[in-house]
């Protein structure tokens, strides 16, 4: 297929449903008098005013920076700990209840404790993001590591591929489809936690702005912020797809080829 056509198709797939939904929203909200659900038109006008301004640098940039650091932290911790726990049954059994305990604690309830240990600056916010986004990566990594094919595992052992080499050449690649699934989950959770972390002790940020708009009854502005969050998630997921396509090329190739799609 020629590249133009392929791009067209991709774009078509990506845009059809959003266009339908936006149209529906537009029509449904056109003459809305509901204070909390203003017409889409109002929201879109507001969107331009609010975000194509100083805010882009003052609020979006710090948020995205924290998000990037927090997400990276979550992936590193999640994969690292996940490999450890996935490979070591005893360690897993000892730590699982404690981890499950932490996993069930709502981040807003955790925040005061974090303030105690990490102060109220950006560190605490990054930790909030890590503390919530680490779980999908961790769980998926543990499961992926546990599910390494036994024949492959035996092969590695018999060739003396142990320790770090085993990790690099067997465990991580074998678990990568599941790790990637977890990383994808973590991406959107990071965005959510970015917002939550900015509900406390903040002076700037995208989430901070949304909450402030909400509190000061600036509803169209609030909606525009939610739209921006969605857009941010969408753009990041596109970037993620590029990453996934590169890092899991063998996996997608394998599936595709054996589905007879080439």
């Amino acid at each position: 297929m020629n590249p133009v056509l392929r791009w067209g198709r991709t774009l078509g797939f990506a845009l059809t449903l959003p266009v339908i939904l936006v149209t529906l929203w537009w029509v449904w909200s056109a003459d809305s008098t509901n204070y909390y659900a203003p017409p889409l038109q109002t929201i879109l006008t507001t969107f331009g005013d609010v975000w194509f301004s100083e805010r882009l640098r003052a609020d979006v940039l710090p948020s995205v920076t924290r998000l990037a650091i927090g997400y990276t932290g979550a992936v590193v911790v999640g994969v690292g700990l996940g490999v450890l726990l996935g490979a070591n049954r005893t360690l897993r059994r000892v730590t699982e209840p404690v981890l499950e305990f932490f996993r069930a604690i709502p981040p807003p309830a955790l925040i005061p404790i974090l303030f105690l240990f990490a102060g109220i600056g950006d560190t605490a916010k990054v930790i909030v993001i890590v503390s919530g986004a680490v779980w999908p990566v961790l769980l998926n990594t543990v499961e992926g590591v546990r599910a390494v094919d036994d024949v492959l595992s035996d092969t590695s052992r018999s060739y003396g591929i142990t320790g770090l080499a085993r990790l690099r050449h067997l465990v991580l690649p074998a678990a990568s489809p599941q790790i990637v699934a977890g990383m994808r989950q973590a991406l959107s959770i990071s965005i959510i936690l970015m917002v939550i972390s900015e509900m406390f002790a903040s002076t700037n940020g995208l989430g901070f702005s949304v909450i402030q708009f909400q509190r000061s009854f600036a509803i169209p502005e609030m909606w525009s912020g939610i739209l921006l969050l969605g857009l941010l998630g969408f753009v990041l997921s596109l970037l993620f797809q590029l990453f996934e396509r590169r890092s899991l090329r063998w996996y997608h190739g394998l599936r595709r080829s054996q589905r007879g799609e080439n």
């Binding site: 035996d154 092969t155 052992r157 060739y159 990568s176 996996y251």
Partner: protein
Amino acid sequence: MTQPLLDVAGVQKTYTGSGRTVEAVRDLTFSVGDGELVCIVGPSGAGKTTLLKCIAGLLEPTAGTVTLAGARVDGPPEAMAVVFQEYGRSLYPWLTVEGNVELPLKQKKLDKARRRELVRDALEAVGLADVHSAYPWQLSGGMQQRVAIARAVAYEPKVLLMDEPFAAVDAQTRADLEDLIRSLWHKLGVTILFVTHDIDESVYLGQRVLVLSSSPTVIMEDLTIDLPDERTQLETRSSPRFADLRGHVYEQIQLAKHRKGDQHQRDEVATGSHRAGQPTVAADPGH
């Protein structure tokens, strides 16, 4: 026989779990000298793979010990290579053919040039020089199996365990690979344990052939192959001695198939010799 390198003593293996207990291997005792080439034949499900895994240190026997070069095996020993029966699953799908063959060499800390050379030679030897950059899943079954063989060959092991390594390749390739193994064996003095279903193959390849009984498994026969060391496909296979040995192993296998470890022992106690066990219900219900 040269000085014994590998010693399998009273190995027994029972699989338990999921409500099913199988005594796969009952009692195996034999030893293999340094630099020997031993073939193992036995009915499907006899426990050949199980035995190989125990020797490779991948599975712990329920009872008995495996001793290699004087030390008890309790983990994969150094300088041993294994070609697994499930060849497809033993290749790393995320590595190319070349990468698969090279990986163990990296682990051996060989330098790049040497690795290159070994990989190239091994792939050429199995007739896959032109697919080095393909992924395993882009290859046919037989090609995958040959990649697994190339990996073991390139590794230059002291001990080589092969579990039906030629099952998926055609007759001609098989003959070539048989000769490859024998030439390697001559050149490197490597000790080889070779599991096969093909009786001709076992006789052609081995210095000794071990015939296993049905599961629970014991050794039915430990046959020395007294064919000349220099073997060629055409001549050796058409020699009368080859036919004799072949016939003998065939008989034993047929016996083995219908005889389990327990019967075998019972028989021995009762009559002091082998007797054909009762045939199973299997096979050819149409007639």
